[in-house]
């Protein structure tokens, strides 16, 4: 258990890479969505809210299939991207990241939205009387004060992305070195006899990474909260 095999290292590296890109691209969108849901009212807000939460409640395979329809090379969005930019998602690491990002999105939005809603809006009003435009208020007041929630949401989404299985295998398939992340590798091993030890090792690695991420998020979040409120730590 002390030394990881090259194959295990490859799987871990791929999983971390997929989760990293998934989180990186969804973070700005999640912040925007969280802000819209927390601070604005618009017609159809309930529906937008519902659609954003769909990945939490529908079977992951449904999400994976929907992605295939939308982002496949013949898909409504995927076709345009492929023809104009040569970008293709299906059966590729990018596809795995997209699937993971979509599945983790609601968790991220939820955490950030809650922290934005918890901000005293009177502080934002005060900032505007001090001459700050709404974008500057957002950058200097809202965003820093929402930081604990943003951190928590990011780590949660990262952990969720590492564990993504159903949507990934449906949309991006199970290709070694391309889309075979930790859960997919474990699933593959369960299909072959006599791999109990190898499975156990990957399972423990998964748990260790997830636990590490949660602990890190808690520590960071406490530190940020302590800096902002002083007595909360």
């Amino acid at each position: 258990m002390t030394v990881l095999s090259p194959l295990e290292l490859e799987i871990i590296a791929l999983s971390l890479r997929v989760a990293f890109w998934a989180v990186l691209f969804s973070l700005p969108l999640a912040i925007a969505a969280a802000w819209l849901l927390a601070r604005t009212t618009f017609p159809g807000k309930v529906i937008v809210d519902g659609v954003l939460h769909l990945p939490l409640v529908v079977p992951p395979v449904v999400v994976g299939f929907s992605l295939l329809v939308l982002f496949g090379r013949q898909g409504a969005i995927g076709g345009v991207l492929y023809e104009n930019f040569g970008v293709s998602f299906a059966f590729d690491g990018k596809g795995a990241a997209l699937a993971a990002g979509v599945m983790a999105f609601p968790l991220m939005v939820r955490a950030i939205r809650l922290s934005i809603e918890a901000i005293d809006r009177r502080l934002e009003t005060a900032a505007r009387t001090l001459g700050a435009s709404p974008p500057r208020v957002f950058a200097t007041i809202t965003l820093p004060l929402a930081l604990p929630g943003i951190l928590a949401g990011t780590v949660l989404a990262f952990a969720r992305s590492l564990g993504e299985f159903g949507a990934t295998i449906t949309f991006a398939s199970n290709i070694p070195g391309e889309t075979r992340t930790l859960p997919l590798a474990i699933f593959t091993l369960t299909q072959s006899p006599g791999a109990q030890d190898a499975i156990l090792r990957l399972v423990l690695i998964s748990i260790a990474i997830a636990l590490g991420a949660l602990v890190l998020s808690e520590v960071l979040s406490r530190r940020v909260t302590a800096r902002i409120r002083g007595d909360a730590a």
Binding site: L123, A126, R128, A132, S133, P144, L145, G230
Partner: protein, 361 residues
Amino acid sequence: MISVAVRKRDGDFVLDARFESGAGVTALFGVSGAGKTSIVNAIAGLVRPDWGRITVGDAVLFDSDMGVFLAPERRGVGYVFQEDRLFPHLDVRRNLRYGSRRRDGARDAPDFDAIVELLGLDRLLDRLPHRLSGGEKQRVAIGRAVLSHPRLLLMDEPLANLDAARRDEILPFLEKMCRDLAVPIIYVSHAIDEITRLADTLVVVDAGKTLAVGAVSEVTTRLDIAPLTDRRDAGTVLDGRIESHDSTYHLTTVSFPGGQLVVPAIGGIIGEKLRLRIQARDVAIATDTPSHISTLNCLPGVITDIGMPRHAHQDILVDVGMPILARLTLRSVADLGLAPGRQVTALIKSVAVDRNAAAAD
């Protein structure tokens, strides 16, 4: 020159405010719920009135006919709220500097170090807001608004959430600031003692309407306004100058238009301006000139007006060169046969010094 005329309906409450004032401190006075905060919020651009026009100097902040409604950040109006509203993630220095990016060539930017010194903040600069006491927080909030380079400063009961000790800690800073700053200030309060210490112009607000506008000394002696001020607090504000000091008896003579008052010795140099406050219940009336009496201040005058009876009392306005309010029992008014035009002597039992440059230091 500040000019405000706004109307706004909000459910059953109708705000209909109208006043003009100039440099110095303008106090908006009234009981809670009278609409004072609604008025300053309209000036700051935090609420949009249904109708009206708000100008500060040449700047039109709001004009419903012309469709002008400047966003709060474009008004150049500083605002000190009842709560400090400091940014919890920024230290005092960065809180103070938050608004200092606002620039306007027409006015000199306030000097950071000078404001920090004026408000006594030099030792707090590196602290986060949660490490400050309530009084310190409010001083930082005041400094932050001043340093945002406003053309007008709004202060909405900045002392209301502080206990008496913290209030007494901040009042001297406020007095100094009101004196030293070139920026006009609109100061909201329901405490008449704060107003007489700080304000030059008084606007009385009641049930959403501005009832009276004028110099503090004029408005506080208007009998139709008196019922709005706290019953126990009704009184006269006099602006005078130190005439002479009497070291033998520890007395100071203060002159005001039309007469002189003798008060227990106060600091200050001859000729210095100060503001005195005489509570109406500390003034007695005699119909002849009393000769053997301990009261030092016996001012001859003429009754100009008599207010409506309230409970056992009635307010009498006596012109002794300046109008002075006296609160007498209904029985005394009847027994002495007091009526407008009657020659009387006002006996002033005590005088409070409300604003004195030397005392503030």
